[in-house]
Amino acid sequence: MPHISVEGVTIEFPLYHIGARSLKKRLLAKSRLREDDSHRVVVAALRELNFRIERGERVALIGHNGAGKTTLLRTLAGVYQPVAGRLEVEGLIGSLIDPAAGMDQESTGRENIVLRGLFRGLSERESEAMADEIGAFSDLGEFLDVPVRTYSAGMQVRLSFAMATVIEPQVLLMDEWFLAGDAAFMQKAREKLKLLVNDADILVLATHDMAIVREWCTRAIRLEAGRIVADGPAEVVTREM
């Protein structure tokens, strides 16, 4: 059964290029930086997080810039390995973290769809079969056969969104960039996401927008300086803000 289980997960970013001792001392005076066992200055991006997300939950990650929302998404996606703790994500992961990731600006939309399929481990034929579906959903029309470099920001977002959601992931990890779509597409995106979530999958969404949280999510986790400061029903946690 799809679920996410996080026990005592800590992520630390080493700051390798800090040499000067005085600078090191000054930085260490601040609370989120510390020196690890091998005398490197590290930023504690996530500190001993504990939570469990069950099937069907729509979880919002909220908090100020730099609170660790995106880092947590990337950790769940398997990009960063924790330095401490246990992590378990069951279910096919779909991550919408950066719209431009793995997109080749010089290739056409259609070529990018095939490339994205290859990134996912599909064959070229399977990816080509998806191209029309993605083209229709993203409303790109004849732009599908034009290099992505010429797309507007909104068109790129639409293409990325369509490419990321066409596989129907069981665990959808999403950063708030998807809000950049135009109004007509937002409506479509919402319908699509509702379908995904209604299929008893998991949504983890990092956002600043409390209206989105209340509308979309059943649960909210508030992060502050890499720690969980509130975790509960979306209405309750957002009211405290």
Partner: protein
């Protein structure tokens, strides 16, 4: 986790990580196996790299062929007169040597950025790191495919025919490919962590050009030729060059090449097993 199966497969994929019990060796093996099984992705990315580099140019990647050809001709003329050798005899040697040296030097230099150049992808999606390493290997293989045919042109132009022994260069090229993989793996990681390694490697390769018999022939060393085997670039070059112009490479050269390959492989894989989990923090 790295190779997400399709949705119609019954079992849901599970991504598990426990910092107290890291499965470093299993993860590294899975990374390499998945990367190799999905060779189509690095091949496609390598093609894109080359296509984007020459986007909009009329000759495209054949600019590489042309510039290598010009260099071979120019240096061939210069050194044939410096060393007082007949041009049509010296040119095949210089052509083969320079093209193989360029192949080695470009691959080693490119290996330094195999992971840092994929930074955007590494931080956004979990992919086997071996995909980025293979991308670098395939990219250089494609570049080599644009340069190696020049050897044939030079041979035809000089009326030289190396005979069937020339096929002996194929195992040599395969050994080079294997070494390219290890170099891209090891240097890719080292250069991601220590940003000074890249410039060091660049200057080592520059020095290597003069210390390796690229434009001078090994027999000029007179007797102290065995010391050449201590230069790893010499056996690597000779296993391809030997079959093409001397009817084969000596046993000593082959043994040295295999020994260097084993060492490179052992060091690269050991590093990969130990530090694979840190790469995302380094790039």
């Amino acid at each position: 986790m790295l190779d997400q199966p399709r949705q119609n497969e019954a079992e849901a994929p599970v991504y598990r990580f426990d910092a107290a019990m890291p499965r470093r060796r299993e993860d590294a093996v899975e990374d390499l196996v998945t990367g190799l099984r999905r060779w189509r992705l690095p091949v496609a990315l390598a093609w894109l790299d080359l296509r984007n580099r020459y986007r909009g140019s009329v000759l495209g990647p054949f600019w590489m062929t042309l510039s290598t050809g010009a260099m071979v001709l120019g240096l061939g003329l210069l050194y044939a007169s410096l060393f007082k050798q007949p041009f049509e005899k010296f040119l095949p040697f210089v052509a083969v040597s320079l093209i193989i040296w360029n192949l080695i030097a470009q691959t080693v230099t490119d290996a330094c950025t195999s992971l840092t150049s994929a930074e955007g992808i590494i931080r956004q999606m979990p992919l086997p790191y071996s995909v980025h390493v293979l991308r670098c290997v395939f990219r250089n293989a494609l570049i080599a495919a644009h340069n190696l045919p020049l050897i044939l042109i030079v041979f035809v132009a000089c009326g030289l025919w190396p005979g069937t022994e020339a096929f002996g260069a194929i195992p040599g090229l395969l050994v080079l490919a294997l070494n390219a993989f290890f170099a891209a793996l090891l240097l890719g990681m080292l250069c991601a962590r220590f940003r000074d390694i890249g410039p060091i490697v660049a200057s080592v390769m520059q020095l290597g050009f003069f210390l390796t018999p690229v434009i001078w022939e090994p027999r000029l060393l007179q007797g102290s030729g065995d010391w050449l085997l201590l230069n790893p670039f010499y056996p690597m070059m000779e296993i391809v060059r030997g079959p093409l112009i001397e009817g084969g490479a000596s046993l000593g050269v082959w043994l040295a090449a295999i020994a260097y390959t084993v060492v490179a492989g052992a060091v690269a894989l050991a590093f990969f097993v130990r530090f694979r989990g840190r790469i995302a923090f380094w790039v």
